[in-house]
Amino acid sequence: MSEAPGLFTALGVLIRRDLLLALRRRAQILNPLVFFVIVVTLFPLGLGPEPNLLQKLAPGVLWVAALLSAMLSLEAMFHSDFEDGSLEQLLLAPQPVFITVIAKVLTHWLLSGLPLLLLAPLLALWLHLSPDAIVVLLASLALGTPVLSLIGAIGVALTVGLRRGGVLLSLLVLPLYIPVLIMGAGAVDAAASGLAAGAHLSILGALLLLSLSLAPWAAGAALRISVE
């Protein structure tokens, strides 16, 4: 009798699978990124090219756009797997369900969080953010966007079985996103006004650890309920 694959092997297989699937559906990956860029670039056009005003609004604009773009791509996390029965297969695979969830969250972040991190400095320059604040912006996004993916996974797992889960998903997930938004935008704001951003970033780090330890189990349990 052969052995079931180890946890890390399974994690690797699942991540490779999801990246491969994403590669076959490139439009789906690009959508949230294009959304992020469009929203941020529209603000200077709508508000006028006043550097002080843009500088003042930049942290909030960048973070709100990042949050909405993360939400835009959430539903894809489990939806197609639910439709074609792959989700049942993943739940019946020998590895614990949280491995499946971690793989899904990691791929979601690699495809939606990481590209934002790479785009953000450019867009921050467009909004006249100072170099110091840009560094903090990157740090806050690096800590905050994984939290968005993790919390989002719980919401999607709960709503994937519902026919019109989209609205419910926003209602479930948005309240939990607000602390991340406040701390993320707060950190950049502090750095932009020359203050220390350490406290904000520490709280973001704490949120990341908390969601990292709870979300995979919560989402796993939610998936079991959703397929039943």
Partner: protein, 212 residues
């Protein structure tokens, strides 16, 4: 059951009940499967065949009763039980964006893989030679089902739970599944199969379960 013996059944359901909405599909249902047994679940549409199979593999919970694998409640030994199980449902989880080869490779890498057969040989055996590298969504329903069936060949598990495995298959496909079942049972495997078709598997212990 013919070879009752002293050996305890591997899969056992005791007094399970299933509710869908307000309706009770079945209650007080008990069954057991020993190595080499094939259980055929028959019954009209809506009689709860799929629900029963989903309960047996732990995807759904019975409203009362317990399912045991090697004597332990399956909700207690989830990971170990799932390593010895393959479930093929109506939606068989073949990804349309991936090729049959990729689909099969992922399924094998996540399960207990069989070492003595390559992916190409398995795809060949289910009649998909020449279709290894086209996106599965371009295949016909029967061919997609064959991709799912190939999973049974590349993994080494004790229990097959198959929900209407003959759907969309041509007569040669049906014979193929019967041959696969016979081979699996001869090696001491077990299978629970729901079907409307008569199943011709020689020399095995068939347990018939009629749901009404």
């Amino acid at each position: 059951m013919s070879n009752g013996g002293a050996m305890p059944p591997s899969l056992e359901a005791v007094d399970i009940e299933c509710e869908r909405g307000e309706r009770i599909l079945f209650s007080g249902l008990s069954l057991s499967l020993r190595p080499g047994n094939l259980m055929l679940i028959e019954g009209p549409n809506g009689s709860g065949k799929t629900s029963l199979l989903r309960i047996l593999c732990g995807l759904a919970q019975p409203s009362s009763g317990v399912v045991r694998w090697r004597g332990t409640d399956i909700t207690q030994t989830r990971d170990q039980f799932r390593a010895e199980l393959i479930y093929l449902g109506h939606n068989h989880g073949v990804k349309g964006d991936l090729t049959p080869y990729e689909n099969l490779s992922i399924a094998r890498d996540l399960a207990c893989a069989r070492q003595d057969i390559t992916l190409d040989e398995a795809l060949d055996a289910v009649g998909l030679a020449g279709f290894e590298d086209v996106p599965a969504r371009t295949l016909s329903a029967g061919q997609r089902r064959r991709v799912a069936l190939a999973r049974l060949l590349v993994t080494e598990v004790r229990l097959w739970v198959l929900d209407e495995p003959f759907t969309a298959l041509d007569t040669r496909g049906v014979t193929l599944v019967e041959r696969m079942l016979a081979g699996h049972l001869a090696q001491g495997g077990m299978a629970a199969v729901s079907t409307h078709h008569p199943v011709a598997v020689a020399e095995v212990d068939i347990v018939r379960l009629e749901l009404s």
